[in-house]
Symmetry: C2
Subunit: 126 residues, 2 copies
């Protein structure tokens, strides 16, 4: 893979962010300083980086995919009300994989675990 300034900027943006950014958000953050940057370039590079493993895709059902600097198998909790995404960790995923393999012959290579609900802030608002 050939170096590109754009890809480098996109990787840094995701890796330096505390939030889980969408492609659009990455674009918006970089566009002011990089006027010729194209949204297509952001999408293409986020896909490349996710495939290659340097960032992690969070394929949020019913919304735009988000990207996360961490790629260490943590899970996500999504608030139906405000769309916030929280991280948490579910232990013993490997054991689950072994169990599933025994049961079905399925070779699992990744998990997307979403817990849907209402976050603390939104509960008090209602």
């Amino acid at each position: 893979m050939k170096y590109s300034r754009q890809r480098e900027l996109i990787r840094q943006t995701v890796q330096q962010s505390e939030e889980h950014l969408t492609a659009e958000q990455v674009y918006e953050r970089l566009k002011p300083e990089n006027t010729t940057l194209s949204l297509g370039t952001v999408y293409r590079n986020l896909n490349l980086l996710a495939e290659q493993g340097s960032i992690c895709r969070i394929p949020v059902p019913g919304g735009a995919d988000r990207f996360d600097r961490n790629n260490d198998g943590h899970q996500h909790m999504i608030c139906r009300c405000c769309g916030k995404v929280l991280d948490w960790r579910l232990p013993d995923m490997q054991e689950l994989d072994r169990y599933l393999h025994q049961l079905t012959g399925f070779e699992v290579d990744r998990h997307d675990f979403f817990a849907w609900g209402t976050c603390k802030d939104c509960q008090t608002e209602i």
Copy 2:
């Protein structure tokens, strides 16, 4: 909620299918016998039925949502190769909810747990 012939047909189609159908697939199955049926009607009713709990939405990351007759909190395994969706069951989800609530205050009302990988059939093909 008022009765409608279209909604009834859509519910039956999902509930009688062994597979996990997309809105498009439900439409394709019903269209030949119901020439005036509209795709919008299929989407609207699938949403209604899912909200009301008589069918279950499977929001597949990176693809069209699928609908399942079962609504009993089972999980799904998706084959990257052929797109097949398998069912399985993860025990003790309630305990997990309690744990998450204690940890974050998040009120969890549903889980989407996807295990991604390669199914038995596709493994032998490669």
